[in-house]
């Protein structure tokens, strides 16, 4: 760690693992403490979180019921 620790830079670094729930409990708590007092970082986190949800929703397409029937018909006939 350098002499001048920049909490915002660190917070940005752990943004993605934070959203992926891949931080240790201690790291998560540290990030949370910073987010509670830094409006800029809190906004960055909100933005990235919203973006992920938005991408997931937009990219999710439902399958045709017709395909589901075709898959069912691949089952082994019983009698």
């Amino acid at each position: 760690m350098s002499a001048t620790f920049d909490p915002c830079a660190w917070c940005e670094e752990v943004l993605q693992p934070y959203l992926d729930r891949h931080l240790t409990e201690r790291e998560r708590a540290e990030a949370q403490t910073h987010l509670d007092e830094c409006g800029y970082c809190a906004k960055r986190y909100r933005f990235e979180e919203n973006l992920r949800q938005f991408v997931q929703q937009a990219a999710s397409e439902e399958m045709d019921p017709e395909l589901k029937e075709r898959l069912s018909s691949l089952r082994t006939p019983l009698l």
Binding site: A58, M63, L67, L71, L78
Partner: protein, 225 residues
Amino acid sequence: MPFTDPYPAKSGNTPPRPGVLTIDVRKAARVARMGESPDTQARELATEARDRVRFEEEALQLADQVYRVARRLVHSKEEAEDLVQETYARAFRSWRSYTPGTNLRAWMLRILTNLNIDRGRRQQRAPDTTHLEESDYFLYNRLEDDSADDEERLLQRLSQNDIVDALAAVPHDFRDVIVLVDIGDFSYQEAAQILDIPVGTVMSRLHRGRRILKRHLAEATVGGE
């Protein structure tokens, strides 16, 4: 956790499985349903038929999730449907190599991604993406410039098609990981198993891939005006 794929990538047609008895499924079903001739072999057949039916039911319950991932791994709806159908045909043929109680969703997706690779997709070399990754703030800054403080509204400047196109433009090595983790809700570990790559590689591809995706999205917000 045992995680075996009966048909790894680059395998040809279904190989004959030595030592596996051919099962009379119809007879097994009669035994299962009506308790016909409960000799030892018949009981085994009945158990096998029951396990098989259970496997098929469980696999079919995952169809929506399997399709959602498949749809974003390939470019057209038709390709996705073919891929899913082929995956289920293969899974139903090789159901015995699935260990009950283990992760069926990941097992299905492993078959699917291997089939996708078998189609020769991996022959292409990954393009150079360094110019796409300049900054993680690119999209944020671009959207931020326009409307001051309402992030919800910022994202409305992107249409569903913008997202789909941007994702499709991400090179496939990176896209596979994004699709599994961010669309399919698979963990890093599951994605690593499915794609047969180390967890560290999943993380670095995810990191770079998301940046590339955001860069494409940022470009879409300009082009769409």
